[in-house]
Amino acid sequence: MNDMTFKTVFTPPQPKILATNPAKIIAEGVDVYYGEKHAIKNLSLTIPDKAVSAFIGPSGCGKSTFLRSINRMNDTIPGCRVTGVINVDGQAIYDPSIDVVDLRARIGMVFQKPNPFPKSIFENVAYGPRIHGLAKDKTALEQIVTESLKRASLWDEVKDRLHQPGTGLSGGQQQRLCIARAIAVNPEVILMDEPCSALDPIATARIEELITELKEKFCIVIVTHSMQQAARVSDLTAFFHLGILVEAGDTDEVFTSPQEKRTHDYITGRFG
């Protein structure tokens, strides 16, 4: 019965990417509140596996809020409430029987501001594998760390200084360190909140390359303010406005022939 109500509100054309890639995350009728504030309104969206989905929209429209509700990081914010259903692999993640700690191990996150721990580069990457007991011994751990740093294309820059603090790296290197930290536990989904907002064009290009590589194995969701970036890296684009998901579809469709006037105005930079 709930089905009926939200389908009448928002009936997206089926994106082509969903025909080729299986759905990984399915949100249905999601509302998010910060106390009285209604930050996400009746949102329904299907996110494909092994693809990059981009969330775009003006500042304050709820992109980060929705992103954080996918790995339940909103739980740590006092007064934040999520209703509706979010399924990951068919499992309702807000079900009381779900172990949040377990869920977050499966859904990695890279934050808008790089936040390496004040530990060595090695320890930063080894953090997740250690707490989840992913490495049997020291060699296996070293293997995971090396592998993750290589995949985050940071290895060459840090291989001689693995035991120096991660906080001593440059901003772009720190962001790649955080990506290495996130992929070290082999998550199924990686959420990235504006991962390039503090980076120069070169570091941005490297991270975009990395994202394209990572989507071979993972389901990637990225929040970005750069239209070009969304167009370059993503397969699916979702446009948010004032807590509402206005439009979601294949990236080339959304950028060439948006269905909604608001989307068109936003991506052409004519948003008032």
């Binding site: 790995n71 990081m73 740590t76 006092p78 700690v101 377990d102 869920l103 977050r104 191990a105 499966r106 990695g108 996150m109 934050f111 501001k113 936040n115 390496p116 721990f117 004040p118 530990k119 953090y127 997740g128 707490i131 989840h132 906080t167 955080c178 930290r181 996130a182 536990v185």
Partner: protein
């Protein structure tokens, strides 16, 4: 008092007069170097300072009646600025310079007072060391300043101080740290709003009250408990003093540690939670190591507070300079002996009296070293998140 009121009134008057004169100039078409309010401020501080200086001088020279001199000086200062008001007067620049000078003066007074105290203690200590050789003070194991042949061995006082400090820390370190972690990480806002001030209230209990609590409640309790188990324990013991002193420094440790734990950026915790870490893993592996330098410095400050504490020890641990590490024996500490040496009638240059200065100097050097170490740890911590 009356003259103070008059000075302030005159200064306010000077403010308005100069401000209005400058405003009139500006209204007349002149371009001022500073806004009219700054002309007013300048007149105010000049009048006030002139008045205060005159008041101080009048206090020093009885011939000068304060009631006349101070208002006269203030008026003169105010009028001088009033007459000086002109488009070219750099009132703002001069005013800022005067403010700066006052600020420098204030900190200089504090610094020179400290230097003066240390210097006087050091000089008196020198006199002491002319009578008692330094090595017999530093390494002697017998402290009996009132014996027919007095002996000033500092070691039993040091061990007494250390013993009590160690007992206090054994109590306060876990209690303080655990309550800090609870307050910072687990307590909800309401609990925190009640529990934190209550804990800090403990820091406001006068140490003399804690002292008689130690002597009249804790010490007898330890004594009867010991007797029940077949030990005979002195009614004054290092244990009683140490336990209560531990309670005294709990709020110091918990409050400072709570602050440093709170200062660990939320982004660190989020990073850990997002990796699938539990709350206790996050605290143990991310928050605590990040806050550790700050926590260490909180401990060091608590230790120097414990070392300097006198009242509790006087009342609960006794005056007996025993060289022992038995926590149930009566001991004495550096601070207790300082006060004991200076109580009662005494000649000022006896070795007994002068020994208080030597003890004070030693104590000062110990706590100074601890504080410098704490500051360095804190600085290192600050660099971490800069």
């Amino acid at each position: 008092m009356v003259s103070l009121v008059i000075i302030v009134a005159l200064s306010v008057l000077a403010y308005f007069a100069s401000q209005m004169r400058a405003a009139a100039l500006a209204a007349g078409g002149a371009t001022l170097r500073a806004r009219p309010t700054f002309h007013g401020y300048l007149a105010f501080v000049v009048a006030l300072l002139a008045g205060l200086v005159a008041l101080a001088l009048a206090g020093l020279t009885p011939a000068l009646p304060a009631l006349i001199a101070a208002p006269a000086a203030a008026a003169a200062g105010g009028i001088a600025v009033f007459l000086a008001v002109s488009p070219v007067l750099r009132a703002r620049v001069i005013f800022e310079k005067i403010v700066l000078a006052v600020l420098i003066l204030a900190s200089a007074i504090a610094i020179f007072t400290t230097i003066g105290i240390v210097a006087s203690v050091a000089v008196e200590s020198l006199h002491f060391f002319q009578q008692v050789p330094m090595q017999s003070f530093l390494f002697g194991t017998d402290w009996s300043p009132t014996a027919p042949v007095p002996s000033f061995g500092f070691v039993p006082l040091l061990t007494g101080t250390l013993l009590i400090t160690v007992i206090a820390l054994t109590v306060a370190a876990p209690l303080g740290l655990l309550s800090a972690i609870y307050l910072a990480e687990y307590a909800d806002l309401k609990t925190r709003a009640i529990a934190k001030p209550l804990l800090e209230l403990l820091a406001g209990v006068p140490t003399v009250v804690l002292g008689f609590f130690a002597a009249l409640t804790v010490a007898p309790f330890i004594k009867t408990a010991g007797a029940a188990m077949g030990f005979s324990i002195a009614s004054e013991s290092a244990m009683a003093a140490g336990l209560v002193m531990g309670m005294m420094i709990v709020p110091l440790i918990s409050s400072l540690s709570d602050d440093v734990i709170n200062a660990v950026p939320q982004a660190m915790r989020d990073g850990s939670y997002a990796m699938g870490a539990t709350k206790s893993e996050t605290i143990r592996k991310v928050v605590f190591p990040a806050a550790l330098p700050g926590i260490v410095s909180a401990f060091i400050l608590a230790i120097s507070r414990a070392i300097g504490e006198t009242m509790i020890v006087v009342m609960a641990a006794g005056l007996a300079p025993n060289l022992t590490f038995n926590p149930f024996a009566a001991v004495t500490t550096v601070t207790v002996q300082i006060s004991a040496m200076l109580v009662g009638d005494q000649e000022f240059d006896s070795a007994k009296t002068l020994s208080a200065f030597a003890l004070g100097l030693t104590l000062f050097l110990i706590t100074l070293a601890l504080n410098i170490y704490a500051l360095r740890v804190v600085r290192k911590y600050k660099e971490h998140y800069a």
